[in-house]
């Protein structure tokens, strides 16, 4: 039975708008909608370039609307979390008065029967406007614009940036090999998989041999030693970003397991300060108590299940010039 992991990638992007989109967004804060002249046409929304040829457009802005005509529409019965309204609404192509091209936006028509081609709509403005396309909350039937909430006025400075929060949740399967490696770690077993074709052994739940491009199933399992040698390492000084968990320099070590060619990469080291780690250092695996278990592991992660990391075991360092190459 395959397990799935959910992960959400969220980031608050901050975009710069450039001169044309910037002018449009600034005007939105003033409850104005701008198009840009392209030959005889007035393009809404305004582009920096002629969409057919790519030629740069002069910054000849034309105020359009505020009202317009619905040219086409569809009905959103169950809005997504990204949609402009949280109740059913129409997405419509609205040709604002004076524009040659229509603008896509929401129309708060109430029911599908309340929206039709040819009907007149006007913007419902947000009281506090940031200089984003959703300063227009939506369009409403009729000629007269509305404002929702207290109108706090236009932007004090021209708008040049825009926020965009992207958040997507993914559900990905945990490969069987990864789960078996995690399960085995609960019994304090380090599981490896030996490729029947080339004989290489892979640990950490990597269920395939990339050299022979074959999957490695349970019949390939071997138990690996819990002792090894540090062959190489990275000492990372953390940089701050949304989602960062570290504040101090941390180590990720490569451990060569005794009597094998198996490398456990990017491993955590325990009771081993960054300034004392050495190539050739002898280490033992450290297993978690039930309370410390993690779901990470496989691939890049050097810790999985109950394998927390590695701790110096006091044995004399191994002196082998080739050790430092054993990273893979």
């Amino acid at each position: 039975m395959t397990r799935f992991i959910e992960s959400t990638i969220t980031f608050p992007y901050k975009r710069s708008l450039g001169p044309v989109v910037g002018a449009f967004m600034t005007a939105l804060t003033e409850k104005q909608i701008l198009g840009i002249r392209s030959g005889d046409a007035v393009l809404v929304p305004p582009m920096e370039w002629d969409p057919s040829t790519g030629a740069e457009l002069a910054h000849e802005f034309v105020e359009v609307g505020p009202a317009g005509t619905v040219e086409s529409w569809t009905w959103v019965t169950t809005p997504s979390e990204q949609h402009p309204l949280d109740h059913p609404f129409a997405f419509a192509l609205v040709r604002l008065d004076g524009a040659t091209t229509p603008l896509l936006h929401a129309v708060d028509a109430g029911t599908p029967g309340g929206v039709s081609e040819g009907m007149r709509v006007a913007p419902r403005w947000r009281g506090t406007r940031a200089g984003r396309i959703d300063d227009i909350i939506c369009f409403v039937p009729g000629e007269v614009p509305e404002t929702e909430g207290e109108d706090t006025g236009g932007a004090a400075e021209p708008v040049t940036r825009m926020d965009y929060l992207a958040s997507i949740t993914y559900r990905n399967p945990v490969p069987e090999a990864a789960d078996r490696a995690t399960e085995a770690s609960r019994e304090h077993r380090l599981l490896g998989l030996r490729c029947p074709a080339c004989g290489r052994v892979y640990a950490g739940g990597r269920g395939l041999c990339p050299v022979d491009a074959i999957e490695l199933g349970p019949e390939c399992e071997v138990d690996l030693p819990h002792k090894g040698t540090i062959t190489n390492f990275a000492i990372v000084t953390p940089v701050q970003y949304p989602g960062q968990t570290e504040t101090e320099p941390f180590v990720r070590a490569f451990v060569l397991l005794d009597d094998t060619d198996v490398i456990i990469p990017y491993s955590a080291v325990i009771e081993l300060p960054a300034d004392q780690i050495r190539v050739g250092q002898r280490v033992d695996a450290v297993w978690a108590s039930p309370a410390e278990e993690t779901e990470e592991g496989g691939g890049m992660g050097g810790s999985w299940g109950s394998l927390l990391g590695w701790i110096p075991n006091g044995e004399p360092d191994l002196d082998d010039p080739d050790l430092v190459n054993r990273i893979f």
């Binding site: 992960s7 990638i9 969220t10 980031f11 992007y13 901050k14 975009r15 710069s16 708008l17 450039g18 001169p19 044309v20 989109v21 582009m47 920096e48 370039w49 002629d50 969409p51 057919s52 040829t53 790519g54 030629a55 740069e56 040049t160 940036r161 290489r200 052994v201 892979y202 041999c209 990339p210 050299v211 190489n232 390492f233 990275a234 000492i235 990372v236 000084t237 953390p238 940089v239 970003y241 949304p242 989602g243 960062q244 968990t245 570290e246 941390f250 990720r252 490569f254 060619d261 198996v262 490398i263 990469p265 990017y266 960054a274 190539v279 010039p321 430092v324 190459n325 990273i327 893979f328």
Partner: protein
């Protein structure tokens, strides 16, 4: 090689900065595109196809940006293609664009690569949003440690590369980092990032774009006749190897060795050290310069650091490397590979301005990606048969 000759006739790039707050996405790429078109004395109408390259879309939060940028790049009614090979992508973009012409399918192709990574956060994107990201340099620190131990290179080599590239950048009007008072002491005193790589030995995070106009033999000859000598593509290759398995060499990846062999064979290069006049190698962390010098046969194994130490790879040396300032000076990730290829082309066109290597007739541009797995390289020459 049996394929028809293909030439670079125009190169353009943006002023690379940590944040290009003055432009939109379209504005950024168009800045590079129009510079390239002007350089080629062409307009968008002369372009038959566009190849766009970019690193992961997570950097900007715009999925498949070739869709949004189709009209910005004048590609309406034309083929538009998007490649993505991690850090080597800029190089692959040029190679695929050249392939479009070599196949006889398109006459003049625009290769464009960009990154507007200030809109997101590079470290975030590299770690796909998880904590304790290794960061850009964390994956390479072990390779560097292996190189230093194998070669016995002294610790100052990395600092020398950093100083060299940053001094070169002062001669490149487009470069992001311009550190006037750069010195060994300053590099040595900068914060440690991924031991042994310090802050001033690391690439910046840049917003930027690069564009290259590639055309057929007739187009190349026309440019030459007009007093605008092209760069002829003598050979190119993209090679990949898997990220991790026992037997991979961290310092001399076989994909790099084979990529170099492919290109040298096609270009008729039998003695790279002597036949190549200048190289633009993808060096985001200083120690990668001696590593790539060796992997690309410009230095014997274990000797690459000596070419750094004795000044061979400086702008005034016998084999200047990264005369443009390289990735260490400007790193809009998706574009960086194309910048290497473009700068190599500019060298043999005599169009490199203040950072021109005198008399450069043959140059290579190289890019790599991911865990030293993806390699893209091309060799360009001021003539089709530079060794005759």
């Amino acid at each position: 090689m049996s394929t028809p000759p293909v030439a670079v006739v125009g190169v353009g790039q943006t002023h690379h900065k940590s944040r290009r707050l003055d432009v939109s996405f379209g504005g950024l790429v168009r800045e590079a595109v129009f510079r390239a078109l002007d350089d080629a004395q062409m307009t968008l109408a002369d372009i038959d196809a566009v190849v766009l390259g970019k690193a992961p879309d997570l950097f900007e939060g715009v999925m498949k940006p070739e869709l949004y940028l189709s009209d910005a790049l004048g590609a309406v009614g034309k083929p538009m293609f998007r490649v993505h090979t991690a850090g080597s992508v800029g190089g692959t973009t040029a190679i695929v664009a050249a392939s479009h012409v070599q196949a006889g399918k398109h006459r003049t192709v625009l290769a464009v690569a960009f990154e507007k990574q200030s809109e997101g956060n590079a470290q975030f994107a590299l770690g796909s949003g998880k904590g304790a990201s290794l960061g850009a340099g964390g994956a390479f620190a072990p390779f560097i440690r292996a190189y230093i131990q194998r070669s016995g290179a002294p610790e100052h080599i990395g600092w020398k590369v950093a100083v060299k590239d940053r001094l070169n950048a002062l001669k490149n009007p487009y470069a992001h980092l311009k550190i006037e008072d750069i010195s060994i002491e300053k590099v040595k005193a900068s914060p440690m990032m991924w031991e042994p790589t310090r802050f001033l030995e690391s690439c910046p995070s840049s917003d930027g774009a690069c564009a290259v106009v590639i055309t057929d033999e007739a187009g190349g000859n026309a440019a030459a006749a007009d007093g605008r000598p092209p760069a002829w593509i003598l050979g190119s290759s993209s090679r990949s190897e898997p990220p991790s398995f026992p037997g991979r060499d961290p310092v001399r990846p076989m994909a790099a060795l084979q990529c170099a062999a492919d290109v040298y064979s096609a270009a008729g290069i039998t003695d790279p050290r002597r036949q190549i006049d200048t190289a633009e190698l993808y060096v985001p962390f200083s120690w990668l310069e001696p590593i790539w010098l060796e992997a690309f046969g410009l230095a014997e194994e274990g000797e690459g650091w000596k070419m750094v130490d004795d000044g061979t790879t400086e702008l005034g040396g016998a084999l200047p490397v990264n005369a443009s300032g390289g990735v260490l000076s400007s790193n809009p990730i998706g574009a960086s590979g194309l910048l290497r290829f473009a700068e190599a082309a500019n060298q043999v066109r005599g169009a490199a301005g203040e950072h021109q290597v005198d008399g450069a007739k043959v140059a290579i541009g190289m890019a790599y990606g991911a865990n030293n797995q993806y390699f893209s390289t091309w060799a360009v020459g001021s003539s089709l048969h530079p060794f005759d």
